[in-house]
């Protein structure tokens, strides 16, 4: 096994263990707390994953785990972004299943956040191309 493959495999294992620990924490404790705490924790965990992805992209371990064109997408930053995406979707599911919030508010808030995200990303991309 060459040096790059070993480094990539060990980094991948580290990521797998860390993500499993995080999901174990979420599945063990989040069902026991109130819906608002669950929502806030999921949003914060999603942000934590996203920020970590941004940070790790520019570091030495930011390279794809394995060499070769087929697995070039499997990079640490992408894994963290996917974890952030999962947290965001889970947070939305928690929000939509809340009894405290009326249905029109849930729909309106979800649309504002969803469309807001799309517009914010589009505007950011436009500014970069200028």
């Amino acid at each position: 096994m060459n040096e790059r493959t070993l480094q990539g495999a060990l980094t991948f294992l580290g990521f797998a263990i860390s993500l499993m620990a995080t999901f174990y924490f979420a599945s063990t404790y989040l069902p026991e707390v109130s819906a608002w705490t669950r929502l806030a924790a999921l949003v914060l965990l999603g942000l934590a994953f996203a920020f970590l992805g941004v940070y790790i992209r520019g570091t030495a371990v930011g390279q794809p785990f394995f060499s070769g064109p087929r697995l070039s997408w499997l990079a640490p930053a992408n894994v963290l972004y996917l974890a952030a995406l999962f947290c965001g979707i889970a947070a939305e599911v928690v929000f939509l299943s809340m009894d405290d919030v009326s249905r029109p508010i849930k729909i309106l808030a979800s649309l504002v956040v969803g469309v807001g995200l799309i517009v914010a990303v589009a505007m950011r991309g436009k500014m970069r191309t200028k």
Binding site: L30, V33, L44, F51, L52
Partner: protein, 160 residues
């Protein structure tokens, strides 16, 4: 910058969950045994497990019950508290429904005795494990806490 924000978000998420778990509303449903002591109804396991337990083996309470609620949160809470008798024939009236304002750290309880007539007119339950005359005592505290326990007309000796 990004690493700091990531650590801060993760730490805040864990702290939020920790605080929520540490400072919680606690409620328990208890029945009085023959020796006068209060026995807490075991609510462990999933609802399906709980209902599947062999109630006939002696884990039912008697007619005297109490619901105890403790506000462990750092702020006061107003909670809708409700106790019902859940009978197979669904004809038992809802005996208790109140709104309790509990300051931080305060406890409050509600004692109630199931009338003998409620037992004798009950047709029992359809699970085949709860012998009539019996019924389920159910309590709801706020939105999230649901408790239940099997009650029979006979006062149990002590904890099952």
């Amino acid at each position: 910058m990004a690493l700091g924000a990531s650590i801060a978000c993760a730490a805040l998420a864990v702290a939020l969950v920790g605080v929520d778990l540490a400072y919680n509303i606690e409620a328990k449903l208890e029945y009085r045994a023959k020796d006068g002591s209060w026995v807490t109804m075991d609510q462990s396991g999933s609802e399906d497990d709980w209902y599947a337990r062999p109630v006939a083996a002696g884990s039912c309470g008697g007619p005297e019950w109490r619901l105890v609620v403790h506000n462990g949160q750092p702020w006061s809470q107003t909670l809708d508290v409700q106790v019902t008798y859940d009978r197979y024939d669904n004809s038992a009236p809802s005996p208790f429904r109140e709104s309790w304002n509990l300051p931080s750290g305060a406890s409050r309880s509600h004692e109630f005795t199931i009338p003998a007539a409620t037992f004798t007119s009950s047709t029992g339950t359809d699970d085949g494990k709860t012998p009539p005359p019996s019924l389920w005592v159910t309590a709801q505290v706020g939105r999230d806490i649901h408790l239940s326990g099997c009650a029979t007309a006979k006062v149990p000796e002590a904890a099952a």
